[in-house]
């Protein structure tokens, strides 16, 4: 089963530094194959479990990303990762 969702990254450092690490750690907790693509910059879909790939997607503040998961827990994975981004990685403001 393949599930996909789009979300805008509002964190001031984008998908870098601590947010990137949290994102990769969260993605690694699911069995599904998960990819992330930076729609604003038009990058190819890359492995969400790979910190190097996520950094290379160069996601900055206000970039729109698409998260796609393929596998048994695809639904839960996409929801969790989108929520992480929407909740600004647990930071205030």
């Amino acid at each position: 089963m393949s599930v996909s969702s789009e979300v805008v990254v509002r964190h001031k450092v984008g998908l870098h530094a601590r947010p990137a690490a949290l994102f990769v750690k969260a993605a690694s907790g699911f069995a599904s194959r998960i990819t992330v693509e930076n729609l604003t910059k038009g990058t190819a879909a890359t492995n969400a479990r790979s910190i190097l790939s996520v950094l290379s997607a160069a996601v900055q503040m206000n970039d729109r990303v698409r998260i796609t998961a393929d596998g048994g827990d695809a639904e839960a994975a996409v929801t969790a990762l989108c929520d992480l981004i929407k909740n600004n990685f647990g930071e205030m403001g």
Binding site: V13, H16, A17, A21, V24, T46, N47, R49, S50, I51, L52, S53, L55, S56, A58
Partner: protein
Amino acid sequence: MLTKTIQGMGASEGIAVGPVFRYEVHRLVVDRRQVDDVKHEATRLDAALAQARQELQRLSAQAQADIGADEAAIFEAHAMFLDDPELLERVHTTIETLQMNAEYAWQEGTEHYIAALRAIGDEYLSARAADVEDVAQRVQRILQGGGTQSITLTEPVVIVANDLTPSDTVTLEKTKVLAFCTATGGPTSHVAILAKALGIPAVVGLGEEANQLATTAQVIVDGTSGEVLIGPDEATIAGYRQRAGSLSQKRQGALKSTGQPAVTLDGVRVEVVANIGSPADAIEALQYGAEGIGLLRTEFLFLERETGPDEDEQTAVYRAIFQIMGRRPVVVRTLDIGGDKPASYLSTISEMNPFLGVRGARLSLTHTDVFQAQLRALLRAGAGHNLKIMFPMIATLEEVYAVQEQVEQARAMLEASGMDYAQKVEIGIMVEVPSAALMADVLAKTVDFFSIGTNDLAQYTLAADRTNAGVSKLADALHPSVLRLIRVVIEAAHAQGKWVGLCGELAGNPLATPVLLGLGLDEFSMTPKAIPVVKQTIRHFSASEVRNIAEHALALSSATEVRAYLESVAL
């Protein structure tokens, strides 16, 4: 020889004069060869990665102790790169399908990502590329059977390098570094951040001209203007030394008298100490004239991580702080977290009222494995130092007995294992719950000291959540009710010959200094930067004068009245 000046970017303020130490990184040469036994190559790679992970863990702990959490996080990020599934798959494919040696496969894989990150042309990602390069070299060195490259400095020097990675700087003896100069890098490069944290001048982005620094004996580094003067004459050196002197004089001006004790006009001495939360803070505390530590928060070791710190890691960090403080007193507060600041590995349940829930000592008493590890680590690190331990969120005598029992258990374990540990340790409690303040005469018989936490005492006394903007104003520690509780605590302790400290924000507020002094407070503990002013304030009053001020303030009917009165008697 004529003085020559080269221009870079000032990355950390200050002026340094001294000899150059040229630091050259030996980049490892990698050969590319076809192999028959691909399994053997894959195993070699995995073993090298495992060793690298171990090294990074150790460096992270060392960086945490020497510099701080930010520096330690760099090595944790390195470890994440080593576990990257895409990188590992690429390297393993090169070994297994192309039948290449592990060294070449590793270099090819890491270079691929370094190039990709650099190509984006973003300063932050270029810095991450440098991190990947750093960790790539670590694994390469292990694969080639090389030992760690470390620098031994015998005299104070100006370190000059093309660039400096966290791995290069973590093992440097920082006290022998006068300044950092690098050919590459910008104001946000690692060396710039490190230099600022250490208060050492740095100039980055000097370009190829930095190589001219190699041969000269003496340089002047101006971290403000970004200039490096090569081979300056005596007159120029004298001029810069004078500038360096006046610069630090200006900075130290406010701190001038802070090294002196805080004594009232009629000769009553009180202790002025610092609230800190990391080894770096301890250094700052001394710079601002702290006579010791009145509150060492230990939460920094426990939060924002997946698993708790083990006993050895804690021992190393506590020891680093105690060593900075020497024989000065250090009051350590055991883990003070609760439902509002959860740590994932401490199973906390969601509470309706976290400030009235399982927090502080209550949480420690429900996780005795974590509690015991912290107590043992403290007792071990405290050997040869002036350690005092206190427990947060104590409301009843039974809780005091329970935590004391835990200390005895930790002692017994260390005694049985034959480990060296602190024998004489004062055991005290935080007084931040009104019940503890009102029962202070009873509690004083069983503890060695009290430390009043006025932030929480005010919020519990006035029933006003200090994190709730609607009522936080009510939680005013200058309210007569809070001041009266402080008097109860101090009188009860003194009647039993015990001392009382205060580590809430009230201690660092010079407005409150005369009233606290008048109530007989023995120890004022505050954020380091507040120390010089509070010491100065104490020196302007006499003990008889402040007794009257306290008596008057406690007879007033509101926080507003107390504040207005204290403003009228302030300096």
